[in-house]
């Protein structure tokens, strides 16, 4: 069965959002047969390893494909050497942006990512979120910083581990466990939802969609059968040879997901319904379920951030008063609209209440002194020119919070967006990079819209250091669909309908 999957390149023939993940078994078999691995004889590497064993499963985790990202060349060199000593296949990278594009180009080319926290071009946590959302790879964070706060950030952002520098080789030897664990969990999700009939359904979908190559079906069936067969087998073998279809959440797909979730309302958004609304052939309930889980985490984190006003000041950008006027009127409308859709998260609510926001009642003329919002949000202003801003703040279903769909966004673009304010740049990156992981409670997703041509951005970073409020700067609320790559163009030229929407789960109380 695996013969069909001759090489990783094969996978690129499939439609972007659905292809079978290449799991270890076949990779190792190929690698072993083709490359004739030489086992290192250093004491450190052979300790505890079946280095001499020819069987593919036994070779695991040798050949684990690791991407290591660190702007410090010394550390990078040492890590690379250590990882190679562990028999991993290492790719090193000194820029987060490069790492991200490498990952995007080769979605299935890596098994795990190790990244430093502090990097000049992009915060490591941003990168972490990007990866979690787009590629769903396990990510290990590392830093010389061992403060509890930072480590906690790793946890909340979904890192599977946190290493403190200086990293010892012993710490790296076991990183394969994160890959295995993730795969196992994904299989579990898959099974739990009655995979059998869905598997069949999926096959059918595949056929309908017209991209069922015999390889596809063959693999699917074989993977299912294999799964059954391997229930008894050794844990390691099991996971290493499991074939698991992995869905990649492309920008478009995520967009559809968010639309569906918004339509249903975050409370009522259950995977089944989301799946139905999305109507994407080949997508399974499990795929949606796990994505939803991440989305909720993301949202929870946003609201968690919004509850800490003390964090707000650090990167607070000096607001330009002139902008508050128009902004307020805009926000008012946004709030109304959003309120109307019944999506106001309680916690963001608290924040806004504190800021003196009134209750959007669906009527115009909200008497909200949005100026007070300054305390929480800083607005970067006309520098962010959004194309034609209008308020397409409306109830329309396509209220699409494109946060976290930055696949076409280069962090550089993000950085380029703001003229001058560093924090803005960070924010931008944070913003778009956000992998929406929602919590049921607090999707504080902000999209800003400007009635005028100037756009204003809700300064993410003002909400704390890891603000994830806005994903998309100038995300248009589309009545006509969102161009995912609209997001951050320098100067926002491409954004056709810039828009600020503050999405809430419940209506605000005055």
């Amino acid at each position: 069965m695996f013969k069909h999957v001759k090489s990783r390149n094969f996978l690129h023939n499939f439609p972007p959002f659905f292809f079978l993940g290449l799991e270890f078994g076949s990779v190792f078999r190929e690698m072993n047969s083709s490359s004739g691995k030489v086992y290192m004889s250093t004491a450190s590497s052979s300790a505890g390893w079946k280095a001499g064993d020819a069987a593919a499963a036994d070779q695991f985790p040798a050949g684990l494909r690791v991407l290591v990202v660190d702007d410090d060349p010394t550390c990078l060199m040492i890590l690379e050497k250590m990882l190679r000593t562990c028999l991993y296949e290492v790719t090193k990278c000194n820029r987060a942006a490069t790492a991200l594009s490498m990952l995007r180009e080769n979605k299935n080319g890596f098994d795990i990512v190790i990244s430093d926290v502090h990097m000049p071009d992009m915060d490591g946590f941003k990168l972490l979120e990007h990866i979690g959302l787009e590629m769903d790879l396990p990510v290990i964070m590392m830093s010389a910083d061992d403060g509890k706060h930072v480590v906690m950030k790793g946890v909340t952002h979904g890192a599977c581990d946190y290493l403190i520098k200086p990293v010892r080789i012993e710490a790296l030897k076991n990183i394969w466990q994160h890959v295995v664990r993730k795969r196992k969990n994904e299989w579990k999700d898959f099974e739990q939802s009655g995979s059998v009939e869905e598997g069949d359904q999926q096959l059918k979908h595949s056929e309908d969609a017209g991209y069922s190559s015999s390889a596809n079906e063959g693999n699917w069936k074989s993977s299912k059968r294999r799964k059954d067969d391997e229930d008894e087998t050794d844990e390691r073998d099991d996971t290493s040879t499991l074939k698991k279809p992995r869905v990649v959440w492309s920008v478009e797909l995520h967009q559809q997901f968010v639309v569906a979730v918004n339509q249903l309302g975050i409370d009522k958004a259950v995977p089944k319904k989301i799946l139905e609304l999305m109507n994407v052939p080949g997508l399974t309930r499990e795929n949606v379920a796990s994505h939803l889980q991440k989305y909720r985490l993301y949202l929870r984190r946003l609201s968690g951030v919004s509850q800490h006003p003390s964090n707000l000041n650090n990167t607070f950008m000096s607001p330009q008063d002139a902008t508050f006027g128009p902004l307020s009127s805009l926000n008012v409308l946004d709030l109304q609209t959003l309120a109307a859709t019944g999506q106001l998260p309680a916690q963001s609510l608290a924040t806004l209440e504190a800021a003196g926001l009134g209750r959007p009642t669906g009527k115009s003329g909200l008497p909200v002194p949005l100026v007070d919002q300054r305390n929480f949000f800083s607005f970067e202003n006309p520098k962010l020119r959004f194309g034609e801003g209008q308020q397409h703040v409306n109830n329309n279903k396509q209220m699409n919070l494109l946060h976290g769909i930055p696949t076409t966004m280069e962090p550089k673009q993000l950085a380029g967006l703001h003229h001058g304010a560093q924090s803005m740049g960070n924010m931008n990156m944070q913003v778009t990079s956000h992998a929406p992981q929602s919590s049921q409670n607090n999707p504080l997703l902000m999209q800003m819209a400007q009635p005028q041509a100037r756009g204003q951005m809700l300064n993410d970073s003002s909400l704390g250091h890891a603000p994830r409020l806005l994903s998309p700067m100038g995300q248009p609320i589309l009545s006509n669909g969102i161009a995912a790559n609209v997001l951050l163009e320098t100067g926002f030229k491409k954004i056709s309908e810039p828009l600020v929407i503050i999405q809430f789960r419940r209506t605000l109380r005055c």
Binding site: T74, M77, I78, K81, I169
Partner: protein, 154 residues
Amino acid sequence: MEVVQIQRNLVDYTKSLFMEGFLDGQFLQLQQLQDESNPDFVAEVVSLFFDDSQKLLNELTIALDQPIVDFKKVDAHVHQLKGSSSSIGAQKVKNACIAFRNFCEVQNIEGCLTCLQQVKLEYYLAKNKFETLFRLEQQIVASGGSIPMIEMGF
């Protein structure tokens, strides 16, 4: 001088560096990574460290010289220096960085300047020590000997 003698000198010298706190266990990690396929690994990494940190030190000097000091930037540089020095086991440099960061946090310019001096001092001392170390190694290799692995009992 006989190879054996040089080897003994090397071992003694290395041990003294550990004793005096110039080096810590991380350096041993580096040494263990070196093997026949990569016989100059340690020297390469250390040399990379010194080049890179020279740049950082320059940046730090400039940053602290500004009329308005950007402490975040200073802290970021020191943090990186701390990370890389700890990765090669240059303990004294690392410790100097830790002290430096404390002053950055409280935005104490005088303190920072003093720390910068200290870090630079440690940097040069460490560089010196490493150079001596590698010179000894080269002598051994040139005389046909092999570099003894240090076994540290502590």
